[in-house]
């Protein structure tokens, strides 16, 4: 199945979802109304996806240094 418990695979999925929504906004601009607000929203979605990717991967690398794992089941506690 497509359900994953790998943190990086989950981040890849989040990137795909954000990309789909941005493409949806751009298509809305093209086909329904033709002011450029949809493009602006797509631009902000791309910005937010980039920020999310940087912070998420920082967390993943830190987590790997602590636990030697990137499996989501190992992230069950807030503190050591």
């Amino acid at each position: 199945m497509i359900a994953r418990k790998n943190i990086i695979a989950m981040l890849l999925g989040i990137e795909l979802i954000l990309n789909a929504s941005a493409l949806n906004f751009a298509a809305y601009t093209k086909f329904v109304n033709n002011n450029l607000d949809g493009h602006i929203l797509s631009l902000f979605i791309i910005v937010i996806a980039a920020a999310e990717a940087s912070v998420g991967l920082g967390i993943v690398i830190r987590f790997f240094q602590l636990r030697e794992s990137i499996h989501i089941d190992d992230a069950a506690t807030l503190q050591n």
């Binding site: 790998n6 981040l11 795909l16 493409l23 493009h39 980039a50 993943v60 794992s69």
Partner: protein, 167 residues
């Protein structure tokens, strides 16, 4: 290409392959942007995703050692997927309810008539986007700049080597 890449991302079991499929999918989305007349968005997509995010993902995958080990520290084998019959039943139920709600929401969109005047195909949108960003959407622009600054500082703080505490 876009959809095939996306499906390959979620189905491939090797993380490196998934990342490269994601790159292919992002290129496909950039092509779609170019097709529907969003040239600045296509360029941004290529620069930000293909240049930044995918490289960052590849670095993270390599730093965390590829697919990783499948045995956790208790000696139990980690399952790659999750869920049993009950969770799949509830997932299907939630999907049906969500699709009904979405149908209700997009019904008005489906009834909306497409505008007759479409943006000219080769119209360059960069100027208008810049003017709109600096006038109508200036608040969101500033907020996103603060968000990027916060993400920068946050990522640096999180991945900083931790100092030894002297308690």
């Amino acid at each position: 290409m876009t959809i095939g890449g996306a499906v390959a991302v979620v189905y491939s079991h090797n993380l490196m392959h998934a990342c490269l499929y994601l790159l292919a999918s992002l290129f496909g989305v950039a092509g779609l942007y170019a097709v529907i007349g969003a040239d600045f968005l296509a360029a941004t997509q290529l620069v930000v995703y293909a240049g930044g995010v995918v490289i960052l993902m590849l670095f993270a995958i390599m730093l965390t050692g590829g697919t990783g080990n499948r045995i956790n520290r208790y000696g139990l084998e980690k399952i790659a997927s999750m869920g049993n019959k009950k969770t799949y039943f509830f997932a299907g139920f939630a999907a049906i309810i969500t699709s009904l709600i979405l149908l209700k929401i997009i019904a008005s969109v489906l009834r909306a008539q497409p505008t007759n005047k479409v943006l000219a195909a080769n119209d360059v949108t960069v100027n208008k986007l810049g003017v709109l960003l600096a006038t109508d959407h200036i608040l969101a622009f500033e907020i996103s700049s603060v968000l990027l600054l916060g993400a920068l500082i946050g990522a640096a703080v999180i991945s900083r080597p931790r100092k030894e505490r002297h308690d």
